[in-house]
Symmetry: C2
Subunit: 158 residues, 2 copies
């Protein structure tokens, strides 16, 4: 398992099957409501009493809040890419809600590495990034395509 403090990685440092784990992030009711008020103002993300009458059965974070936290965890510790996490897109799903008080972390696995045919300094890396709560339940699965660069010539082996 890759450690959060490890050396940033270039394309040639990655291999299919590699796994990475982020640090943890706890979110509370206030942050769920603040994000929802800004970006996803629906009752089940804003009001616990109303949320209990919906399919969520209680206050739930916006899926986009979970996605944003996931990105923070990947950028700050979970996927230590030297040239940053340049996401082109991917497939996202939210198998269960994120709740107030949940502590999340992200586990990433490299699924595929496709070097560019036209640009020898880069490639597309496909990774599955699973966001888990404190009960090891997946709250989000994001299978992403990321643009990753090779180590610049003459920069050593890092």
């Amino acid at each position: 398992m890759h450690q959060p403090s490890a050396t940033p990685l270039y394309l040639e440092d990655l291999a299919v099957g590699q796994r990475f784990t982020s640090v943890e992030y706890r979110l509370d009711e206030q942050s769920i409501k603040a994000f929802a008020a800004a970006f996803d103002p629906q009752p089940f993300h804003l009001d616990d009493a109303l949320a209990r009458t919906t399919i969520f059965g209680g206050l739930a974070a916006s899926g986009w809040h979970t996605a944003a936290i996931t990105m923070r965890l990947m950028v700050t510790s979970g996927l230590p890419l030297a040239t940053g996490i340049l996401g082109l897109g991917g497939e996202i799903s939210w198998p269960r809600p994120t709740r107030p008080g949940d502590t999340l972390h992200v586990e990433s696995e490299i699924l595929e590495i496709v070097p560019s045919r036209s640009k020898p300094d880069r490639g597309i890396v496909k990774a599955r990034n699973t966001t888990l709560n404190q009960n090891s339940e997946a709250v989000q699965v994001f299978t992403s395509k990321i643009l990753v660069f090779k180590r610049p010539a003459g920069s050593g082996t890092g």
Copy 2:
């Protein structure tokens, strides 16, 4: 084209090929940096001078910021579903960056409607939601699966 002020829709009001357009949302440099500081702290989302040295060629919003704004636009005007936008997931891509000063809106099209076999009160609706800037360039395409409920029995035709 559906108007933002229209009556909220239930599953039986939807049809493949229907299109909806949201209101507009302008984002500025300050909001790009604030979102990035919270959720996607990478140089190309935080610092214009540094961003000019990267593949973005200048400050760009986090893709997750574009996604969050897209959700706001859909919830508040773009997809007037009576039971809310209950997203199960989907395929997301960012064909070009969102820039400071961009004015975004979302165009949604219903692609597929699949009634639930086991639960007669609901179905899954697949919609393509394209987020466009002021030059009609797509900055995000999100093909989403949304849980939509039928009109409750005895509630009239809305």
